[in-house]
C-alpha cells in the first residue's frame, strides 16, 4: 500500500517536470500558433548551456541558470526573429519542417560538441536530500522544487498574460493578427519576445531535467512528446491545464512503472491516447481551435 501511495506522490512530482516541459510549448502555441518539433531538443540544449556555465565558471546549477537565462532569452528572440517568423502563415508545413530540421541540427550539433556521454548537473547535497513524510514515504527536495517551480512559472506566465500590456498584446495577436497590427503591435517583435520568454521557461525546465536525471543529446524527442502529451491532456490554451496534464502524465508513468519498470513510458503514452479517445479537447479546454 505504501508503495502505491509513494508512486502517486512521485507521479505528481514528476508531473511538475512535465508541466515545465509543456509550459514553453503551450506558450509558443498560445501566442504564435507554432508547434515546435524542436522543443525537446531545445530543453536539452539549454541543459548543456547550464552545464557549460556551471563547469566553466564553477557555479552551482541554480546560479548558472541565472546566467544562462538572459543568454537563452536572446537566442530565443533571435531564433524567432531571423528564422521562425519566416515560416508562419496559412501553410502548416514550413513551421513543422523547419523545426524538425532544427531538431536534427541541435541533436547532432550537441553530439559533435559534447559526445553521446551522459551528463548531469551537480548541486551537492540537495540532489539527494529528501523530506520524510512518515510511514516510510519521503519526497526528494529536487522533485519538490520542480513542482513548486512549475507552479511559480505558471503563476508568473498567467500574470504576464493577464496583467501586463505585453500580455494583452500576446493575446490580441493570437486572436487576430491583422487587427493587432492596427493597434500598433509589431507582431514579429511580439513573437520574438514570446519565444524569448519560452526560452526562459525552457531554461528552468532544463535545470530540473539535468538535476533529476542523466541527459545526453539524444533524449530531446522523448521530452517533446511528454510536453505535447501534457498540453493535449490538459486542454489547449490554459497554463493550469498544462500543469494538470503534466500531473496526469506523471501519474500514469509512475503507476505504469510500479506495475513493470519497462512499462513506464508506454503507460504515459497510453494514458494520452485514452484521453484523446474520451475527451479529445483535453481535460480543461479553453482555446477555440
Amino acid at each position: 500500500m505504501t508503495g502505491w501511495l509513494d508512486a502517486l506522490i512521485q507521479g505528481v512530482l514528476l508531473g511538475g517536470l512535465y508541466a515545465l516541459f509543456a509550459a514553453g510549448l503551450s506558450l509558443m502555441f498560445g501566442v504564435m500558433r507554432l508547434v515546435n518539433l524542436a522543443h525537446g531538443d531545445l530543453i536539452v540544449l539549454a541543459a548543456f548551456a547550464i552545464l557549460l556555465v556551471a563547469t566553466n565558471l564553477g557555479l552551482d546549477p541554480f546560479v548558472a541558470v541565472l546566467v544562462a537565462v538572459p543568454i537563452l532569452f536572446v537566442i530565443g528572440f533571435a531564433l524567432q526573429h531571423v528564422l521562425l517568423n519566416r515560416t508562419l502563415g496559412r501553410d502548416l508545413l514550413p513551421p513543422l519542417l523547419v523545426t524538425f530540421g532544427l531538431s536534427i541540427i541541435i541533436q547532432n550539433g550537441l553530439l559533435q560538441l559534447f559526445s553521446a556521454d551522459s551528463q548531469r548537473l551537480r548541486s551537492g547535497a540537495i540532489e539527494t536530500a529528501s523530506i520524510p513524510l512518515g510511514g516510510g514515504i519521503a519526497v526528494g527536495v529536487v522533485p519538490l522544487l520542480t513542482l513548486l517551480s512549475a507552479i511559480a512559472v505558471i503563476v508568473l506566465l498567467n500574470f504576464i498574460f493577464y496583467r501586463t500590456p505585453i500580455g494583452r498584446a500576446f493575446r490580441a495577436t493570437s486572436d487576430d493578427l491583422e487587427v493587432a497590427q492596427l493597434m500598433g503591435v509589431d507582431h514579429r517583435r511580439i513573437f520574438a519576445v514570446a519565444m524569448g520568454l519560452a526560452f526562459v521557461v525552457i531554461a528552468i525546465a532544463a535545470l530540473y531535467l539535468g538535476l533529476r536525471a542523466n541527459f545526453d543529446p539524444t533524449i530531446g524527442p522523448a521530452r517533446l512528446l511528454y510536453a505535447f502529451e501534457a498540453v493535449i491532456i490538459g486542454g489547449l490554451g490554459s497554463f493550469w491545464g498544462t500543469l494538470a496534464g503534466g500531473i496526469v502524465l506523471g501519474l500514469a508513468q509512475t503507476i505504469g512503472a510500479r506495475i513493470d519498470p519497462e512499462w513506464q513510458i508506454l503507460a504515459g503514452h497510453l494514458a494520452f491516447l485514452a484521453v484523446l479517445v474520451v475527451r479529445p479537447r483535453g481535460l480543461f479546454p479553453r482555446a477555440q481551435d
Partner: protein, 362 residues
C-alpha cells in the same frame, strides 16, 4: 482572363497527358526494363545501393501522397515501416510462411492496424496530428520491445533457411552462376523494383482518379472543398490506410533484405521519417516527380557524405530548412516552373482549342 472573355467562340478540352509526358512514359518503360535487366551486368554494391534507393523512393512517394496531397503531415510513418518489418519476421519465423507471401500479408495487416490508429490520431488537427503520429509510432516501438518471441528490446534475426527460401534464388544462382547471398540480393532487388514501380503506379492512379481530384481540392483549400461536398474525413482516412499498407509492405521488404530487426532500428524516426521528409522536401512536395529527384540527391549524399556522421546530418537539416524557406516547391518545383514540365501528368489542364498557346494550369 479578359482575353478569354473577349473571344466567346471557343472549344475547350480537358487533358492530362502532354506530349512530353507521352515521351516520358515510353522512357519510363525503357528505364524499368533496363533496371530489371541490370543485375546481369552490375556489381553487387550497385545492386545493394539501388535496393536502398528504391525503398527510400517508395517510402517518399507514400509520405508525399500523405502530406503533399492529403495534407496529413505525419512524422510517425516509422510505425508502419517497423510494423511491416516485424510482421514479416513474425509470419516467417513463427508462422513459417514464405517471405514473398508474408510481404503482401504485412501490407494488409498494416492497413488493419492503421484504421484504429487513424480513428485516434485524426482527433488531432494540423500540426498536432504530426506529433500524435509520432506518439503512436513510439507506442508501437515500446509494444514490440515487449514481445519476447521476437527478441524483445534487442531484436532478432531471420534464419538463413528463411532468407534463402525466397523463390527464384536457386534460379538466379544457376542462371548467373552466383553464390546464395549475391543471388538473394538480386531477387530482393527485383522485389524492390517491383514494389517501387507498384507504388508509383498506385500513387499515380490514385491521383488520377476522382478521389485524387478531391485530394487536390483539399490541399488547395480544405474548407472550400468541404463546401463542394468532398467528404474530407473519409478521403483522408482512405489515404492514411492505403499509405500505411504500402509503407508496411516496404517495411517488410526492407527487413527481409536486412535480415535483422530491433525495435530501435525498425521504428527509427530518423531513418524512416526524417530522411523521407528530406527527400520529399528537397525534391518538391506535392508532385510525383519531386520525390524521384529528392531520392536520387539523397542517395548521392548518403553515398558520399554519410561518413561525416553528425556533420552530415547537420547538413541535411540545414538544407531542408533552406529549401523550405527559399524554394518551398523543391528542386523539381524550380525546374517545372521554368519549363512547364510534367513527367507524371496527374493534373488536368484546360486546353483552349482555338488558341493552343493559352493553357491554364489549375
Amino acid at each position: 482572363m479578359d482575353d478569354a472573355a473577349a473571344r466567346p467562340v471557343q472549344t475547350f478540352r480537358i487533358e492530362t497527358a502532354g506530349g512530353a509526358s507521352r515521351i516520358a512514359a515510353s522512357i519510363a518503360l525503357l528505364i524499368v526494363l533496363v533496371l530489371a535487366l541490370l543485375p546481369m551486368f552490375a556489381g553487387r554494391t550497385l545492386i545493394q545501393d539501388l535496393i536502398f534507393l528504391f525503398y527510400m523512393l517508395a517510402l517518399a512517394q507514400c509520405w508525399n501522397l500523405l502530406a503533399g496531397y492529403a495534407g496529413l503531415i505525419s512524422v510517425g510513418q516509422q510505425a508502419f515501416v517497423g510494423l511491416g518489418g516485424y510482421l514479416l519476421f513474425a509470419l516467417t519465423l513463427i508462422g513459417g510462411l514464405n517471405p514473398l507471401l508474408a510481404i503482401p500479408i504485412a501490407g494488409v495487416v498494416s492497413a488493419l492496424f492503421a484504421l484504429p490508429t487513424a480513428l485516434i490520431v485524426f482527433r488531432l488537427r494540423g500540426a498536432y496530428f504530426a506529433i500524435g503520429t509520432w506518439v503512436v509510432a513510439e507506442v508501437y516501438r515500446l509494444v514490440f520491445a515487449q514481445i519476447k518471441p521476437l527478441g524483445g528490446g534487442t531484436g532478432t534475426s531471420l534464419t538463413p533457411t528463411i532468407t534463402s527460401s525466397v523463390p527464384g534464388i536457386e534460379w538466379v544462382k544457376t542462371l548467373l552462376d552466383l553464390r546464395t547471398p549475391a543471388a538473394r540480393d538480386i531477387v530482393s532487388y527485383w522485389v524492390a523494383l517491383a514494389l517501387v514501380v507498384a507504388t508509383l503506379a498506385a500513387v499515380y492512379f490514385i491521383l488520377r482518379s476522382r478521389r485524387g481530384l478531391a485530394l487536390g481540392a483539399i490541399r488547395d483549400h480544405e474548407a472550400a472543398a468541404a463546401g463542394l461536398g468532398v467528404d474530407i474525413y473519409r478521403i483522408k482516412l482512405a489515404v492514411y490506410v492505403a499509405t500505411a499498407a504500402m509503407t508496411g509492405m516496404i517495411g517488410a521488404l526492407i527487413y527481409l533484405q536486412k535480415a535483422r530487426i530491433s525495435p530501435d532500428a525498425a521504428f527509427s524516426v530518423l531513418d524512416w521519417t526524417a530522411y523521407v521528409i528530406f527527400i520529399v522536401v528537397i525534391g518538391g512536395i506535392g508532385t510525383m516527380e519531386g520525390p524521384v529527384v529528392g531520392a536520387i540527391i539523397f542517395y548521392l549524399m548518403q553515398r558520399y557524405l554519410a561518413d561525416f556522421g553528425a556533420y552530415y546530418l547537420i547538413l541535411l537539416g540545414t538544407l531542408g530548412i533552406l529549401v523550405m524557406l527559399f524554394a518551398p516547391k523543391g528542386l523539381w518545383g524550380l525546374v517545372a516552373e521554368r519549363h512547364g514540365l510534367t513527367l507524371f501528368p496527374t493534373r488536368r489542364r484546360l486546353v483552349i482549342e482555338a488558341d493552343k498557346r493559352v493553357q491554364l494550369n489549375p
